[in-house]
Amino acid sequence: MACVLKLENLWKGFSGLEILCGISLEIQEGERHAIIGPNGAGKTTLFHVITGFYRPSKGKIFLHDRDVTGFSTYKIARLGLSRSFQITSVFPKMTVYENIRNAIVSKLNRRFNWTSLLSQSKEIQRETDRLIDLLRLDGVRNMLAMEMSYGWQRRLEVALTLALDPSLILLDEPTAGVDVKETRTFVQFIKEVTGGKTLVIIEHDMDVVFNLADRITVLNRGQILTTGTLDEIRKNEEVQRAYAGRK
């Protein structure tokens, strides 16, 4: 089983305040891994460090056994790692089709192509249509991203992440702010479109976690409390203590 992501003793601090303190973790291919923990535990910061947005003060990151520590965000994205955001970050004035197409253009390495018209490229069109179908976005194809409901924008947020056909998917609280009724269908959607892929997801909603993940890591105050399967975590006393009084 190939190791897709390996974090070795990661540290990250700002102006003397340490947010991540010695994180070590391995994610295997096909694994469905959730990262949970109280607010301020450093979960999103961890994602920022993995994706190259922040540079770790100490430690190393290996993607497909390749040392990517210090690589820029765009390089890491091109190596097959894609993430979604807790606060929706799409292209508001572009249509859903155009949003997905942006990811496709990058995936097909046509970002700097200036000798042909975008609308004439059959390859880009075909691939975009394929992804739109795959990601169930055909109904909202021509809607502007900013005109959609919040729930649909979250769907687009995840879709944009997946449009790159990444080998490692990072989802940062994908269901944040989505109302209870829609969450069930949304989670089902995520389950189907990420089926068989390596997934790491930050979540607060434990139902979502139990639905999507088979392994869980608990983060608290920048350190890993424990890693294990669902049952192991449920029974773990330290985890219960960390969450105590936080309902």
Binding site: T51, F53, S72, T73, Y74, A77, R78, S82, R83, F85, S89, V90, F91, P92, K93, M94, T95, Y97, E98, R101, N102, A103, V105, S106, K107, R110, R111, F112, N113, W114, T115, S116, L117, L118, S119, S121, I124, Q125, D129, R141, N142, L160, L164
Partner: protein
Amino acid sequence: MNSSRAYPIGGIVIAAAFLLLAPKILPAMKVHLATEVLIYALWAVSFNLLFGHGGLLPFGFGAPFGVGAYATALLFRYFAGIPLLPTLALVAMLGFATGITIGSLSVRLKGAYFALITFAFQMFLYAIALKWYNVTQGDDGFGVTRPSLYLPVWGNISMTNIADVYYFTLAIVFLAILATYFFQKTPLGNSIALVRENDVRPSFLGYNVYLIRLTVFSVACLLAALAGGLFVFFNEFVSTAVIDMNVSMIVLLMVIIGGSDHFLGPILGAAFYVLVQDWLSSLTSRWFLIMGAIFIVVVFYLEGGLISLIPSKRSQVGATPERG
């Protein structure tokens, strides 16, 4: 169904006819104005490639224009008989190089900082132009003569007649603006636009945001330098007036008043500026102040510029193709 054509075809035909027949139907003075409008239109379009399309607002966009102007003037002066088209091509490349130089340091910054650092670079070049009297003759400036145009089949076409100057300028400007229009519709043009729409997400999608911004900056500078070259070609004169602070304000005025959301906005703004300036300056020597006031009013009350007053279908960032 082509939803990006926002204006009725009739209007375009009339405009085209007018442009082609201008030297025949207008008196010489007006043909001069028309040529000026064309040159400023190219400059304004290049500005808007950077601003409206790329989302980067520069206050120092007089720099590439001035560099293009001075380069052309110096080439005309020191290499008498130099062929016209290769000169303009060289000047355009020089503009691109200027863009890479200034851009490599500037595009790391955003917002007001980007605007001001480009302004600083322009003032730096202005200081050089002003003080290097031996070469540039400072604010006195110097005159040049237009070389003739050599075309393979036609041979030498002299450029002494304003009608010839007009048609040559029309041809170059038209081709350059057309190229810009299609450039915006290429995948690279799309990369530039999406970085404008969201400057964080693209890098997570594999886009090198810095390089994309540097590219649009350099291409815009290339076109601006070309406009500067045409300016000297037209006026047969260069001085620090092509690169001083006024110049930064002029191109800003044209694009903001014309409208930066639509591709044709800057062209409208250029026409507005040249024609209104011509009219106002015969009334008062303080016409610049009035222009400045109009600018402020537009910033407050007419965000889409003058072109937003013309009824049309909304022009989108790109057309979404039907399923096929």
